[in-house]
Symmetry: C2
Subunit: 415 residues, 2 copies
């Protein structure tokens, strides 16, 4: 069962927005056993859309198209589908009622002709109700291929995928089971990992695929397989993963779960009934943002400071001014003092701090560009580690954030 995702919109092709819809849809399709064969992004242009639909029909069983469903002139997806499927647009009464209700709720103006266009759908399409916007989703078929058209607005698309699209695909197709499992490692490069695991890799069954995913100081190793019987697929992959984990025991930090590393940290803090605060200088709130992106964290997370200016480290956080004068603001001593003070200020068990030189210039700092100290203060004391994350600025922040979360996970696991 193969699928292709086509995203329509000039804004993607000129780099004005990053296409996050395709990754979401791919992940969801994978979960129900549909393999995504290709992603394609094209312009709001009739000839190009027709060509892309035609190419996709030859390649795959399911074509999901997002975008181009707005009420304005630059949106032409619906009309183009009509041309492709030799169909005509008709007014859908249920959609019309929905559009009118939405319009009444959100504006004071009389309903406009452009908005009425939102109620037009190809006559043979099945309407997928969009509760979060005015553009309906549509399910259409031609020969053996299913075409699904969805709005490009991420939260509207997501709800439609979950509540309308996936159940219908499961219903119509007999999908195999697809299984991925990803081991997270850190501290060793791809080539070195190969050296350790190549003998095992050579003997992997053909049905299991290994991928190396290096990213910001971590290498993730993914095993993938698919088959008709879920239990067999899971057993085969888990068995090989156990061997792989054993070979890389020293650098493995766990598996990539749905919720990733912050989810594991949250779970452990709640389980152990410990509390956490953060004080982020060079990471500027990036770690806090990752933690607060999870729901339910108020059970353990009490808050953060971002003492960006040096004197706020003294005034707001209470770091000793003399310590800063003696060791500079980017130092082991200041990082550790920041963590200790954060525990005091927020009345927490654990505190994590970052201080470093994110760049692009090092200002009057003594250390090299990219130097970052990460400290953790906990019931068992305080420690810090020094890193150099190079440049540019966004890489330093991203690597420091990853590393900080890793250190925090290790620490809360230990105690």
């Amino acid at each position: 069962m193969l699928a292709e995702i086509i995203t329509i919109g000039d804004e993607i092709l000129i780099g004005q927005i990053v296409d996050t819809n395709s990754a979401f849809i791919s992940k969801e399709l994978n979960k129900i056993g549909v393999q995504v064969y290709q992603l394609t992004s094209i312009q709001d242009d009739e000839a190009h859309i027709l060509q892309a639909l035609n190419d996709a029909e030859k390649r795959v069983d399911i074509v999901i198209v997002t975008g181009g469903l707005g009420p304005t002139k630059d949106d032409i997806t619906k009309q183009t589908f009509c041309k492709y499927l030799e169909d005509t647009l008709v007014e859908d009464k249920a959609v019309l009622t929905h559009v009118k209700a939405l319009y009444k709720k959100f504006t004071n103006h009389p309903l406009l002709p452009e908005s009425l266009n939102q109620a037009l759908v190809p006559s043979r399409a099945t309407v997928l109700k969009n509760n979060f916007g005015s553009a309906p989703g549509m399910w259409m078929e031609k020969n053996e291929t299913v075409f699904i058209s969805l709005p490009g607005v991420p939260y509207e698309m997501k709800r439609l995928i979950e509540s309308e699209v996936l159940p219908r695909i499961v219903d119509k197709f007999d999908c195999p089971f697809i299984y991925h499992r990803t081991l997270l490692t850190y501290g060793m490069g791809e080539s070195e990992i190969v050296r350790i695991i190549h003998k095992w890799e050579d003997k992997l069954p053909k049905s299991i695929k290994l991928a190396y995913l290096p990213s910001l100081g971590r290498v993730r190793l993914r095993l993938s397989s698919k088959g008709k019987v879920k239990e067999n697929v899971v057993r085969a992959v888990d068995k090989e993963m156990k061997v792989l984990h054993g070979l890389l025991n020293e650098i493995a930090i766990g598996y990539e779960e749905e919720t990733a590393i912050v989810g594991r940290i949250a779970k452990l803090f709640i389980q152990k009934e410990k509390t956490l605060s953060l004080t982020e200088s060079c990471t500027g709130g990036a770690i806090t943002e990752q933690i607060t992106s999870l729901a339910g964290i108020s059970a353990f997370f009490r808050g953060s400071t971002v003492p960006y200016a040096t004197d706020t480290k003294i005034d707001v956080l209470g770091v000793d001014e003399q310590l800063i004068n003696e060791h500079t603001v980017v130092s082991k001593e200041v990082a550790e003092a920041m963590a200790v003070q954060s525990n005091k200020l927020f009345n927490t068990d654990y505190a994590l701090s970052t201080t470093g030189i994110a760049g692009p210039t090092k200002g009057d700092a003594v250390d090299e560009l990219g130097t970052v100290f990460i400290a953790i203060a906990s019931p068992s004391g305080v420690f810090s580690e020094k890193f150099n994350f190079g440049e540019p600025r966004e890489r330093v922040v991203a690597k420091a954030t990853n590393k900080a979360l890793e250190l925090l996970l290790k620490e809360i696991l230990k105690n």
Copy 2:
């Protein structure tokens, strides 16, 4: 001059990562007058790569391929290019020296055969030196089409695009000038905007394209055009933009610049010699992260608190406990008190605060899910606005962040 970007890697097609490379490359190509005609993401599979290269060669002048250049077995881009171009891999001495030096710097192990593979390139390829990693970029030609192969690691790819790829394209091709200008508006939906501008839109010259980009409570309106003579293109677009801005004067908040809204805020604060602090409850550091993503902000940004737990709003920030008991933590009064206290704590001129119910559940809150108060305290006093950003959680945080930055921009513009 048309280009296609092909990203190779199973991790994209299973939704494990979001492809941000394509947006970056598209934006950079646009700047030098190359129009991106299509983006394609495919698997690490020889037949599929060959097919995609073949299709792209028919469509465009320049094909940029990212990914699949690692030293491990799952990476096959280089070999597949050789097959496509009927070439063979040969060792490049300069790359070999570079790989050896990198290896020596970052590991203690002897050089591995897998790492030596990184020095192999197609014999007719021009090597594009990658200073930030071991996989070289490659510039290849077949018939009239240029093929460029780059590593998938974003910061390696970015540097190669900037320092090696763009200058060579400008050198080889006679590119037209492409110009986009985007007006930011807020507070009105697409259909209502159409009502105001449709007469103007109908009379737009054919050479200028209008796009509506709705996103999280804002609609962006983009005018695009291209031509041989830069001055003419800019003049024609700017003239129409002036008319459009006039028509939408009440909802226009400015133009989308390279640096976006945070860049404008930073510039104004520095210009006016004012300082800023933030205190983010429901946005959990997201606003701080946007501001600290810019370099040079220590000139005006002093720091933030994220007083997530209610009692940290009292203990850390100094909000009056009785105020919270009287009005609840998600209220106009508490939002305004938070902003006022933040100015005191950080000794700043301006402070912005957020407090709200991001969800997924409303806990014991009185207000509806999605309710957010944003307050700003400044030399001219303190004010707040109440919003409902609906759900889910990530949408509430993203919309609140956008809105907070808008309010801050308006406020600093005013004073």
